[in-house]
Amino acid sequence: MSRLTSLPSGTKTAPAGLGPFNFRDFGAWVLLTNDWGRWLMLDKPDFERFVAGKVTPEEPLFEELCDRGFVRDRMDFGDLATSYLKQTSFRLVRGPSLHMIVVTLRCNQKCQYCHSSVVDPSRTDTDMDLDTAKRTVDFIFRTPNEAICIEFQGGEPMLNWPVVKFVIEYAQAKAKAQKRRLLIALVNNFTLMTEERLDFLIEHGVSICTSLDGPADLHDRNRPFLGGGQAQEKVVSWVRRLMTMAKSDDLRKPYLPSALMTTTKFSLGRAREIVDLYRELGMEQIFLRPLSPIGYAKRVWSDIGYGPEDFLRFYAEGLDYVLELNKDGGDGIMERNALILLTKIVKGEDPGFMDLRWPAGAVLGCLAYNYDGRVFVSDEGRMVDHQGDPLFCVGTVDDPWTKVLDHPTARACAAASNLETQPMCAQCAYKPWCGAEPVFHYEMQRSIAGQMPTSPWCAIHMGIFDILMKRLREPAARAVFDRWLERDQCHWQENGPTPAGQPVTEVAP
């Protein structure tokens, strides 16, 4: 059976009365979905009757199929259009909202998997200068999107702290003047954090995000300091510090730190330990993320990489443990992949996650700014440039806004990531909630469109969807998922209620 799943030849079908749907066979049951994000899990015999046109109007199942838009002659077009709009609202927002600034390529860590293409701390020639920073912010504020999220990426941004400070203050002044919503997030490794810097960040409402791969031996193996030393200890001590502050001061609760973990070969089999650390630190979420074979990570893939099936085993182990920790209720730790996808699947809403949408977030949803003022379709696109291939550069901060948005590469990325034109994706049951990543596929398969039957990207995402769909059928897991969605952690930009020029409270993915 293909990854898409098939039908036994000889299956009786009567397509004439069927509404538009895609299906996925799970053995004893089959998932039906449609463009509008409606879905239904049918037991196999019911599915066979459905495709044979044998479900009769007297049956409760018929009503259910009609309600969800699976019966051709019984569709509520207005209802389906509303549902469609709700879950794909990002397609109607003008211009990118997420802007990733690389203020330096320098870093004081030498991570095994670093796909950010960092350089030695002595290389100050890769620092963004003040003039470029100002022109970058000016360029960002040309986006017609009313909401702007600026995210500092690296290198380690704190190695160019004066420019970080300037960008924050200048952007906030502009947001206030233009009455626009602004979120600023700083992704840093905490090793250069000081009391003074922390005060500045809190005072300016900057969300703080770090990297934490797990227990000390694992983290320090993945993310060693240049010259040696214990990196994890520093991260953990700052996270503890921030959590204590947040707990003791209501005003600071919105600024709970968040952390990203990256799964390497060394993480496999250790999901529980990693979750335990996050839980012990009081983190609200853990984001069990796969490693991307982009940039430097591609070169060392044989040392630290793994197959999609290895990651999926790790993910299932981690998610199941998180669910187990939540079974007694309360505000337990949540898994972010699940939360993002469940926001789409169960709530039918767009969580504002750039990596999983179509057309891809590249240019239409986000832009990345290099220290030298060049603009890229995404941070991953910038990393490909650092390896010597400028394909994903779409201009500079001195170019007119329109020139960047209308760049042939921007158009190509949008076209290549349209799932309606992908032979396999167009027929996939997960199409309403999935996405494609041109840079990933360019790196892996030398094609921005990719070849989905052999794509590890597809295998991993389809696998995560499968795991979630199976858990959604389990009442205990479903109850936990529903509680997570009530806590509503997945809105950070377009829908935020934050007044103009004020920091909004959630960190970008």
């Binding site: 017609p144 000081t194 052999t454």
Partner: protein, 188 residues
């Protein structure tokens, strides 16, 4: 307009393949009559096989396509038989998928048009941001930005003069340098 060369190539492709009707060793050949469903389901099924096999689709006998599958893994009789069954299952699924897609294309377009119309009001409100932000700044705001720039410039030039990296935790120092510094403190 296609060139003469392209037209000749297309005409050649439309001819039935002259390849041997019998499969080479380690291959499966399936002939599929197109009928009303057209070629899409066959091409779709061949595409879905790409994780397991190399697939070649060629014109076959009149009104048919010939699909040759060569497994990427083992090529024993059992594997070839399983591959053939697998292709036939894919074809059955593709026929259903394409029939549903064709029947419902107008419905999907209509719902999408409705969604866009619903979004009209929202889109009208989302006006493009004014370009030259600086023009909107008050004198006070402009002065504040000038002050910020001056402050940061001073900070950077001081750092450059002292050749000092912002490294309060000593994270950029090598292990040896950190140890030496530690010993020095101990000796004091």
């Amino acid at each position: 307009m296609p060139t003469k060369k392209t037209r000749r190539a297309l005409a050649r492709r439309a001819q039935p393949s002259k390849r041997a009707a019998r499969p080479a060793s380690g291959e499966v050949v399936v002939s599929v009559k197109l009928g009303a469903a057209g070629s899409e389901p066959v091409l779709g099924a061949a595409y879905m096989m790409m994780d397991r096999a190399y697939a070649l689709v060629e014109p076959g006998a009149a009104g048919a396509l010939r699909v040759t599958l060569r497994p990427k893994g083992a090529r024993g009789a059992a594997e070839l038989a399983a591959l053939k069954t697998s292709f036939e299952d894919e074809l059955a699924a593709q026929r259903l998928r394409w029939a549903v897609a064709r029947n419902n294309a107008p419905v999907r377009e209509y719902v999408a048009e409705n969604a866009i119309a619903l979004a009209g009001e929202f889109a009208a409100r989302a006006q493009a941001a004014p370009e030259p932000a600086a023009e909107q700044l008050t004198d006070d705001q402009r002065a504040e930005i000038e002050r910020l720039i001056a402050e940061v410039e001073t900070e950077i030039s001081e750092m450059n003069r002292e050749k000092k990296l912002p490294d309060p935790n000593g994270a950029t120092r090598s292990w040896e340098a950190a140890q030496d510094a530690e010993k020095g403190r101990g000796a004091e």
